[in-house]
């Protein structure tokens, strides 16, 4: 060992003695990625992480100009967009990267679901992943309000009002979210705190756990590949897989730059609590399927308010996703669990169809 370390120079040896570089290197070299026809899906987790990194960096940059109060928020974003050099770029990249991250996360989640990668011993990896998905949506919801424009104001009003429809805990949750009975500057300050401190702290912990578990268990090989048998081929993570990963990241960065340059984030008009809601109020696209479902529900279902049925239904669907590894007993034992595959496909179809309807159906229906 000393001879190997010695060949790397004195600095490497000095650092190795203090932080254990050789052990880290061994760990990195040990990591292998299986090669099979479904390996494309392995790239989406890393892609999500890359976009999250962009969110962290651009988010920190935005913090330097943003002012979290009803009186100053809109003006500070306006200043950032119009006066600060490349302010428009940083904000547009943050907004677009958020959207891409949610999209890639959807793909990551459903590909893991369909490939049954949640099987033993990766249950906790899955549960932490679903938690990260929920936190990402919370990031999106809280971040949307921060520019304090008309669209965001009313979207937040409607979004938080929906939680108020929940039985028993509804009113309490609504007040807790809004920081009062109405969406006001108090809500903005609260959402700001959640967006830039509380959620990042929680994400750091859960993402750390998620990544640790991915390293510990390695990549899951889909049951169909396992059943097919044959020789197992792998490639080293460093450099083979990582370089391929980076091609994806660079492509994502190129797409981001193009989107930010050609379709910069808009600001709209400043929120005015005493102005009528503008036409074309809609949530972010990733909430559209829920929003559209609530529109289709009749006002009462079996004597219960339609909205409550919808909200409780989505809550149960979320719980189902969270507990999936414990419900799908057959996949755990290496069997085919076709029914869970179909439930997964059903969920994807539901999200796509309702999102499509949300953007195309006439608002008078």
């Amino acid at each position: 060992m000393p001879s190997a370390a010695g060949s790397r120079g004195r600095l490497w040896t000095w650092l190795d003695e203090r932080v254990g570089l050789a052990e880290m290197e061994k760990l990195v070299r040990k990591k292998q990625v299986p090669i099979h026809r479904h390996r494309l899906w392995y790239y989406f987790g890393g892609m999500t992480l890359f976009l999250f990194g962009i969110q962290v960096v651009t988010g920190i940059l935005l913090l330097l100009y943003y002012r979290p109060s009803a009186e100053e928020a809109y003006e500070s974003v306006q200043f950032l967009m119009a006066e600060v050099q490349f302010g428009w770029l940083i904000r547009s990249v943050h907004a677009w990267s958020a959207n891409l991250m949610v999209a890639v996360l959807f793909i990551h989640l459903f590909s893991v679901l369909l490939l049954k990668a949640y099987r033993r011993p990766r249950e906790i990896t899955w549960v932490s992943g679903v938690a990260l998905f929920g936190i990402t949506l919370a990031f999106g919801f809280t971040g949307y309000l921060l520019p304090w424009n008309e669209l965001a104001y009313f979207a937040t009003k409607v979004g938080t009002e929906i939680t108020g429809a929940l039985p028993v805990v509804g009113h309490f949750t609504l007040r807790l979210l809004r920081g009062g009975d109405e969406v006001t500057g108090a809500t903005l300050t609260r959402f700001y705190g959640i967006h830039v401190a509380i959620l990042p702290a929680i994400v750091t912990l859960i993402l750390g756990l998620h990544l640790y578990l991915v390293q510990k268990h390695g990549m899951s090989v889909p049951p169909s590949v396992e059943r097919a048998g044959g020789p197992r081929r792998t490639m080293p993570f460093v450099p083979d897989f990582l370089l391929r990963d980076m091609v994806g990241w660079l492509s994502a960065l190129a797409v981001l730059a193009a989107l930010a340059a050609f379709l910069p984030a808009e600001l709209g008009r400043k929120a005015d609590p005493f102005a009528p809601a503008p036409i074309g109020i809609k949530p972010e696209w990733y909430f559209m399927f829920m929003f559209q479902t609530l529109k289709y529900l009749p006002s009462t279902i079996l004597g219960i308010e339609g909205e409550i049925v919808g909200i409780v239904g989505f809550g149960l669907a979320g719980l189902f996703l969270l507990l999936l590894p414990f419900l799908d007993r057959r996949a755990e034992h290496g069997g085919r669990s076709t029914i869970f595959t179909w439930i997964g496909i059903g969920m994807i179809a539901f999200v796509i169809v309702l999102t499509y309807l949300g953007y195309t159906a006439s608002p008078t229906q």
Partner: protein
């Protein structure tokens, strides 16, 4: 008597109990103030039972509507095509959006989810489950005074 025979385990379980309850009490004493802190204090409910509008009655044209502040909430003042003044809460009964007057339909309309109300505040189509709250209007000279009926 029994406890003196086996002082060890009972003393240990007592200390375990003491430590456990102290730890629990400590956690509660930290979490309680934090959880209370997170819940916003009740806002002083606007006691305004009536408001005098900064608009002169003769300036409100027929078949128009406008939003005004009633306490801390938006309300809408409508003059019907026939010339009658009416006022309602402008908070949509569906999901809390602020409604507006549609002169083309002579209706009060919510843009968020396409809810329609007639000029008596009744929900006539779309998702709103209840009518808008109606207010009482008194015109004193050119002053418009809106109050929360009975």
């Amino acid at each position: 008597m029994e406890s003196t025979l086996e002082p060890g385990p009972s003393r240990r379980s007592f200390i375990d109990w003491l430590l456990g309850t102290s730890a629990a009490a400590f956690i509660v004493s930290v979490l309680y103030p934090v959880s209370r802190y997170l819940v916003p204090p009740p806002a002083g409910e606007s006691s305004a039972a009536s408001v005098t509008l900064p608009i002169r009655a003769e300036d409100v044209k027929p078949n128009t509507g406008q939003i005004f502040k009633f306490g801390s909430k938006p309300a809408i003042l409508v003059r019907t095509a026939a010339g009658e003044l009416r006022a309602f809460s402008a908070v949509c009964t569906h999901l809390n959006c602020t409604v507006q007057y549609r002169p083309d339909l002579a209706e009060i309309w919510c843009a968020c989810h396409n809810g329609h109300f007639d000029l008596k505040g009744q929900n006539v189509s779309g998702p709103p489950p209840r009518p808008l709250d109606a207010y009482v209007i008194n015109v004193r000279g050119s002053q418009i005074v809106v109050s929360k009926g009975t």
